[in-house]
């Protein structure tokens, strides 16, 4: 199964990744080979089989809905590229309505 350069660019956009033409050619070839290998799954009949997304039958335990102070706010802010008081300054990521 061959995956086209166009498809590579389309998926790269969905992934917010960027490939130049040379890189795109390499990854198209690699993905094609890997997807080709995945074909072996199609030989199995799974019509009646339920999917598994989680292997344990354990139920998610509930806890009391109590407020607990998060003590590491300063430490988290240390990783921010730029701060204004206690706020992280980020590039504009929403359009004005």
């Amino acid at each position: 199964m061959a995956i086209s350069l166009e498809e590579v660019y389309k998926i790269a956009h969905l992934c917010r990744l960027d490939f130049n033409e040379e890189e795109a050619k390499v990854i198209a070839e690699e993905l094609s080979r890997i997807l080709d290998y995945f074909k072996k799954l199609q030989t199995l009949d799974t019509e009646e089989i339920n999917p598994t997304f989680h292997t344990l039958k354990v139920k998610t335990p509930f806890r009391e809905d109590e407020v607990k102070e998060f003590p590491y706010i300063k430490d988290i802010l240390k990783n921010a590229p730029k701060l204004y008081e206690r706020m992280i300054v980020v590039p504009k990521i929403v359009k004005a309505p």
């Binding site: 995956i3 590579v8 998926i11 790269a12 956009h13 969905l14 992934c15 917010r16 990744l17 960027d18 490939f19 990854i27 690699e30 993905l31 080979r33 890997i34 997807l35 290998y37 995945f38 072996k40 799954l41 199609q42 199995l44 799974t46 089989i49 339920n50 999917p51 598994t52 997304f53 989680h54 292997t55 344990l56 354990v58 998610t60 335990p61 806890r63 590491y72 430490d75 988290i76 240390k78 990783n79 921010a80 590229p81 992280i88 980020v90 590039p91 504009k92 990521i93």
Partner: protein
């Protein structure tokens, strides 16, 4: 100062010496650091060494020991894979995108180790975001196998396995998504365990594939591994996938069951095909010896051959989602451009390495409209079949024995340019993650090239103590010390 060989020390024997005041934590930690200075320029297991902090922690531990304080790891030097957060230290995941990230809090497993007095000597190398089987995908440098520097230590927890094998610290924690603890343990001649999914909290472990990731210990012996697992296991309200189950006393269990006979299955699919002949011979020899105590029979796990394809759809799909958070906005590497989408794309394109990008792309493809049913959903259904194979098998047998890898450690550069070949090297470890089972790798011998060979014990969900018990019996039967030649000169 008494005379003992540092190479022979384990966590448990060091604790005894500490208690008897025959050695100090300071001496233990200094010895680890000396070993790092001597050997790590060649092995390159560590991304960061925390010399000052470690020595300070060791001195504090010595004070507490003097006061008669008893903690389970008081003064013991330990290394940690660099995708597990230690407050105040870098957590890079061996990725440029997190190069300057400083952990704001401790992972739950780190909190537990700290509470028991462990001394952290440094963070170990890995394949970027734990994606790989050789540690060659680290954005910084590859790690070398201490048994043969031209060979890989395995991956992704290659740094942790190489560190323990080289006696740079007495134990380590890694993470295992498709074999990332067991395969490097096998390649480096140490013990490495992937516990049952849910047994150990993953809070503070950087997520790769959340339905598969599990933290686990590395040790020089099965006892040390059981001892470390005891400390890190248990339900954690901060990880909703951690299971509220009772944790048995692992060390007590394996001692009490030193001679217990188990029903053991050998899955025929794990002994067919392209498996190294010399390695198989060593594995079969030990199985032959085990027959005197255990009932061993052939079993079948018929969907084994589909595991690699299943895994390399599911894990990248989950990674695609988990790694979406690295967008250059609030933290991490950013390339500033005028256009926002360009900023995302350039930051991620330069911040992530080749294998990570390949997997993000594979995941996006498998989940995208028109392909979801044929790839992601199909793989999730085949995962059910793989899980059912194991559940069926465990109706007949208590435990399963299998190889860990199809070959002994391969050469650096041998598979890195052929991703599919690299993926196929995980064939015997991946099914265990897909099914959420516990598995351990125990060294059992050396090839004629002096490379470690290991065997894998696999057990039913939450029968981790049984897995450890058989591993302990095997270790006794093998009765060998695994000391890489690099330590002898």
């Amino acid at each position: 100062m008494t005379t003992f060989d540092f190479k022979d020390l384990t966590i448990l024997s060091a604790l005894k010496l500490l208690k008897e005041k025959k050695i100090s934590s300071r001496e233990l930690v200094e010895e680890s650091l000396k070993q790092i200075k001597k050997i790590d320029p060649l092995v390159k297991a560590f991304l960061y060494v925390e010399e000052e902090r470690a020595l300070e922690a060791a001195s504090k531990a010595d004070e507490l020991i003097q006061k008669g304080e008893e903690k389970k790891l008081l003064g013991i030097p330990i290394s940690i894979k660099d995708n597990i957060c230690i407050k105040g230290l870098a957590t890079t995941c061996a990725s440029k995108i997190l190069q300057n990230f400083i952990s704001p809090y401790d992972a739950t497993v780190i909190e537990k180790l700290k509470a028991e007095g462990a001394v952290f000597i440094g963070k170990t190398n890995l394949d970027e975001f734990a994606m790989g089987s050789s540690t060659e995908n680290s954005a910084f440098f590859p790690t070398h196998n201490p048994w043969d520097l031209e060979r890989v230590p395995g991956g992704s927890s290659g740094g942790s396995a190489a560190a323990v094998a080289s006696r740079m610290g007495l134990g380590s924690l890694g993470s295992d998504t498709g074999g990332s603890i067991r395969q490097p343990a096998a390649f480096c001649g140490v013990v490495g365990m992937k516990p049952t999914y849910g047994l150990v909290s993953r809070f503070g472990l950087v997520a790769f594939a959340s339905s598969l990731d599990q933290i686990g210990p590395f040790g020089l012996t099965v006892e040390d591994t059981a001892y470390l697992l005891q400390i890190i296991a248990g339900y954690d309200p901060k990880d909703s996938t951690s299971a509220p189950v009772d944790i048995p006393d692992f060390l007590k269990f394996i001692k009490e069951n030193e001679k217990t006979s188990y029903k053991i299955g050998l899955p025929k699919e794990y002994f067919e095909g392209e498996i190294d002949a010399e390695m198989t011979k060593i594995i079969l020899e030990i199985i032959e010896k085990l027959k005197s105590r255990h009932h061993i029979k052939e079993i079948s796990l018929p969907h084994t051959e589909y595991a690699v394809a299943t895994y390399y759809i599911i894990a990248p799909s989950e990674a695609f989602s988990n790694l979406a958070r690295y967008d250059g906005v609030k933290y991490g590497f950013r390339v500033d451009t005028k256009n926002l989408i360009e900023m995302y794309k350039k930051s991620r394109a330069l911040g992530f390495g080749k294998e990570v990008k390949r997997r993000i792309m594979l995941g996006a493809y498998s989940l995208s409209a028109g392909y979801y049913d044929a790839y992601y959903l199909k793989a999730s259904k085949v995962r059910t079949l793989i899980l059912q194979d194991f559940l069926e098998a465990f109706k007949e047998v208590d435990l399963i024995l299998a190889p860990v890898t199809p070959t002994p450690p391969f050469k650096i550069g041998e598979k890195i340019f052929d991703p599919l070949q690299m993926y196929l090297s995980d064939i015997f470890t991946i099914p265990v993650n897909l099914a959420g089972l516990p598995g351990i790798s125990v060294p059992i011998g050396l090839t004629s090239n002096n490379l470690p060979v290991a065997i894998q014990v696999i057990g039913p969900h939450f029968k981790d103590e049984h897995v450890l018990s058989l591993a302990y019996q095997i270790e006794k039967e093998v009765n060998m010390k695994f000391i890489p030649p690099i330590l002898k000169n």
